[in-house]
Structure formats: structure tokens, C-alpha cells
Subunit: 113 residues, 2 copies
Amino acid sequence: MPRVSKISKSPPAAVEDILNRLGRNIRTARLRRKLSREELAERVGISRYVLADIEKGKPTTAIAAYLGALWALGLLQDMREVADPDRDEEGKILERARSPKTAPKRKTLDDDF
Amino acid sequence: MPRVSKISKSPPAAVEDILNRLGRNIRTARLRRKLSREELAERVGISRYVLADIEKGKPTTAIAAYLGALWALGLLQDMREVADPDRDEEGKILERARSPKTAPKRKTLDDDF
DNA sequence: CTTTTATGTTAACTTAAATCAACATATCGT
DNA sequence: ACGATATGTTGATTTAAGTTAACATAAAAG
């Protein structure tokens, strides 16, 4: 992507790690299934060059290409819970602090005077 | 990405679903943390426009932008197990079929004649 | 060894991803 | 109501992502 973002040019180590990991995992899954790059790429709908980039963990490659590879390998379901609000404990705490779900008990009756 | 791949132009429904989900989840996490698009985008190292694309689930956006958003929200660890070979049961079966890990028991002794 | 098959590398080309500026329109707090 | 902040939209610009072709090298299969 032109005017390449900082995040793509030099991603934080954590992001780079995940990217390399993902690439390796996709490669492993492909080899286990005895697929060549060309075969898998064709099923995904990309060129073999992009699949090579994916296996290398290239940051600037379109997310759909990565997800397409997972999809063609039958591994897309692993993405379903990513950033799931139900599992985002940090977020839930912050939300609760703002708008307490349990209605605060009134100390006194509304109409006591 | 120019010469846009088929997978990006018209992703399979499953991929589109995951993409929309991811976008929504990132948005939810951002709002819970009371961050504006501009604030989060700046932390990620992208423009507010790209973050808007991400929350819409745009297929052609660089994977690093998506991962950067997860990272800035403290949700990147959700990606660690995606396509993990240890959890790829389908792949493990295929591999086992090819090269049986348990050495096949010899029916007869090696030196029986 | 020889022939496939898989992958690496380079170069040329097309086109849209990402940025910025400017303005419009919510949405929120006071 | 008001002003401030957040987000939507448009157009112009830049530049690299993705494609193809061609050739090189590596690894399997015969």
C-alpha cells in the first residue's frame, strides 16, 4: 500500500512476531496437506508470489490474502474469537466502571422526605 | 493492492464474515477504552481513514494495520494460536497417514529364517 | 543421471492503498 | 441553544502491492 504506514514499514516486535508465526503456521499447514504454493494460491485466488510473501509474514499484504489462505486450508475458524468483546476483560472492566450494569441500590426511598 | 486479487475483490462469505466481525470487535474495544479514531490511529501509526476502513472490515487493507490496531488495544495475543500446528487436527492426521510416528511392529523377528 | 516439479529472483507494468486537505454532518457536554 | 469533538465524504497525489513472464536453482520422482 502506497504511502506505506509506519506500522507496515517497521512494525512493533510483537506484531512482527505474530506475522512470522502466522506465515510459518500457514506453511506448515500447506505442507501437511501436500499442496504446492501454486495449488494453494490458485484455490485462494492469488498468485504464488503473494503466497510466498504470506509465508514470509509480509506486513503490507492485504488481510484478505492471509484470511483466504486460512480459509482454503480449513483454518479460518481460528479467527472467530479474535478481539471477541466477551473475552475482552480489560474492556469489560472499563465499560463497567463507566456505566455500572447493576443498578446502584438507592440508599433511601425515592419518596422519603 | 493494485491488480487487486480475486480474494480481495470478492472474498468468500466466510472470509467476509470474519472481516466484518473483526472490524466490529476492534470498534467495540476502541469505544470501551474511550478512544477516538484519531487517538487510536495515531497510536497504531496509521491515519484515521485507514482505521475507519478496518472497522468496516475492508479486505484490501494491509494486515499490519489490522494487527497494529489489535496491538494498540492490547488484544494481539488473541492471534497467537491462529493456525497453530498443534491444534491443526486435520493436518496432523494427514501427516500421520504419510509417515506413521509409531514404528510399525515387525510381524516376524528380523533374523528369523 | 535425467526429467519433472517446486520454489527463488528479477524486471516491467497497472492500479488502487494510504495520505492529506477541506468541508459536511453527526454526536456530546455544558 | 451553543461550542467542541468525533466521524463521514470527496478529490488530488504518491508510490508500492500484486500480476505476469522469463530464467535460475533445488529437490523429488523416474
